[in-house]
């Protein structure tokens, strides 16, 4: 197996140019939304708004303004996290979602039947249906480019190196160094998803953030969907058992009443 590959996204140097979104769309030949006639969000300069089946990259604009001269912009190029323990891969009933030799998570479009279990399983809201293919789709971390030794289209296009591509072993210390540098400058920065002992065994696409995780639309402690499986199945069996016993007790009572009734009439 090749080395684990991924992205380190330093949100402090993102300028919101959306070159990554465009590069992703071009390389992966993703269709335009609504035949190319886009609706404006109306309440933000961000008109993409979310990741979905035809937006595998999304530059999130977080507009923190108390007044016209008091505020800041946070920008984050969001993408599939390529979780080390992936919820989508766990629930996929067709085997369409696979882990590649680069430790990334890829949906095989020719196998997926569009059941959408992976959409509900992803804690980050990354996956959605591509209306053209009718299948669930998301970032492949440019699996086709990786296989021929090329860098993913988005990080290649990023003009500020906010999106950095490389081996996870190389990216993690580099990210920590950047956090230390920012902290030395008095900026409260932290890494999201870089800890291999953290939630989901770490994320192969991890981030440097300067505000709370939730501000960036990221769950603080993402979990696997299977956390509920044993309990939920157990309570269902318990409920079925109680109902079965109640039904049998009712049948027995009916028989006893019948025996009692026929005994009384004799």
């Amino acid at each position: 197996m090749a080395e684990a590959m991924g992205f380190f996204t330093d949100t402090t140097v993102c300028i919101g140019c959306k070159a990554c979104e465009v590069a992703c769309k071009e390389w992966n030949q993703l269709p335009a939304e609504n035949g190319g006639i886009r609706e404006l969000s109306g309440d933000s300069y961000d008109n993409t708004r979310r990741l979905d089946g035809i937006h595998w990259r999304h530059v999130r604009f977080i507009e923190q303004f108390k007044g016209p001269y008091d505020g800041r912009w946070l920008m984050m190029s969001d993408v599939c996290k390529h979780c080390v323990q992936a919820g989508c891969l766990e629930v996929c009933p067709t085997g369409a979602i696979i882990r590649t030799e680069f430790d990334t998570v890829v949906i095989q479009s020719d196998v997926c039947n569009g059941c959408r279990a992976c959409i509900a399983a992803c804690p980050f809201g990354v996956i959605d249906i591509n209306p053209v293919s009718g299948t669930a789709q998301k970032c492949t971390l440019c699996y086709d480019r990786l296989k021929v030794g090329l860098e993913p289209a988005c990080s290649k296009a990023c003009p500020t190196d906010s999106i950095q591509f490389g081996t996870i072993a190389e990216l993690r210390p580099r990210a920590q160094k950047r956090v230390d540098q920012l902290k030395a400058q008095g900026v409260e920065a932290h890494l999201y998803g870089a800890d291999p002992t953290g939630p989901l065994g770490g994320l192969n696409s991890f981030y440097l953030l300067v505000d709370k995780d939730e501000v960036y639309g990221l769950p603080h402690k993402p979990q696997l969907p299977s956390r509920n499986l044993t309990k939920s199945a157990g309570f269902s069996v318990l409920s079925a058992g109680v109902l079965g016993v109640l039904a049998l007790v009712g049948l027995r009572k009916r028989r006893m009443d019948q025996v009692g009734g026929s005994g009384g009439s004799n």
Partner: protein
């Protein structure tokens, strides 16, 4: 800050999946009751048993159709059963409810159809020689054996849909492990209600119907208790019910679907009225539970909307 489940995306399980969850639960509950009567009932319960098998068979068929047409690529439905690139290898993930559910609904359908053929043969209603031959085999001990396996599968089909919802990262669904238990109870109550409504046309006796009514009351009490535990277990997530779906849960499910029919059962009023309310409540339970979560979109939360 919102709970972590609020950042996931909605799977758009709506107008085919809500009826599927309802019909699947009802069919599973009806078969389970028919199977119990097959084993422990009396000869005058046969009309109810036959109705139960028939409801289950049609319910399983309708469920399969609803599930298939809801897929983004319906012609690939078999990818859930076999490995498409490695035929004829089986595709089965025991830790994925949607995977074992696909197998369960297939097997349940098979057993329900076998039982229905057996009961139709018993009534002499089968004309086609092949169906008559199959139906005539499913009698006596074979019928009981089929009913035992099918009954367990029936309860499984009724409950796995709730487990499936819990094994996601969606708000409400995955914030409690009690949805499976709730759907099992609802499947039992709606299954009994369907039999109360349909079995009289096949000659069900008053004694059978009284037992069904008595069981339905107990199932409704279990459903109410589990619903209360489910709501209690949601904690802070309960604010998601501050919508039209919460109102529907309170008025449509608790009041119309559980308390009102319970009162009718206790008063010994005509059974059909209570049964119709139970069927309505069971549907509204699926509708409210599904759409309350479906309506929460992650970007609205992230944007503070």
């Amino acid at each position: 800050m919102p709970p972590d489940t609020f950042f996931s995306g909605a799977p758009h399980w709506t107008w085919f999946i809500v009826p599927y969850f309802y019909v699947g639960g009802l069919a599973g509950g009806a078969y389970f009751l028919a199977a119990l009567l097959e084993w422990f009932g009396q000869p005058d319960d046969r009309p109810v048993i036959r109705t139960g098998y028939r409801v289950a068979a049609w319910g399983a068929i309708v469920s399969g159709v609803l599930l298939t047409i809801d897929l983004g690529r319906p012609l690939r439905f078999w990818h859930m059963l076999f490995q498409s690139a490695n035929l004829p290898a089986i595709m089965f993930k025991p830790w994925s409810p949607i995977s074992f559910g696909a197998w369960a609904i297939l097997l349940f359908g098979l057993f329900a159809v076998l039982s229905a053929l057996g009961s139709a043969a018993e009534e002499g209603r089968l004309q086609a020689p092949l169906l008559r031959a199959v139906g005539s085999v499913v009698r006596g001990g074979v019928a009981k054996l089929v009913a035992a396996v099918g009954g367990l599968l029936g309860f499984f089909v009724a409950g796995y849909t709730g487990v499936l919802l819990s094994v996601t990262n969606r708000p409400i669904w995955s914030d409690s492990p009690w949805l499976g238990a709730l759907f099992v109870a609802s499947g039992a109550s709606t299954g009994a209600a369907a039999l109360i409504l349909l079995a009289p046309a096949r000659g069900a006796t008053t004694r059978s119907l009284e037992w069904l009514s008595s069981f339905d009351s107990k199932a409704l009490v279990v459903e109410l208790v589990v619903l209360a535990i489910f709501i209690g277990s949601l904690g802070a997530v309960n604010r998601a019910w501050l919508s039209v779906w919460g109102l529907l849960l309170l008025v449509g499910v608790v009041w119309l679907g559980i308390l009102a029919p319970l009162r009718l059962h206790m008063q010994g009023r005509p059974l059909a009225g209570a049964a119709k309310l139970v069927l309505l409540g069971g549907f509204l339970l699926r509708l409210a539970t599904m759409l309350a979560s479906e309506g929460i979109d992650r970007y609205r939360v992230a944007a503070g909307m």
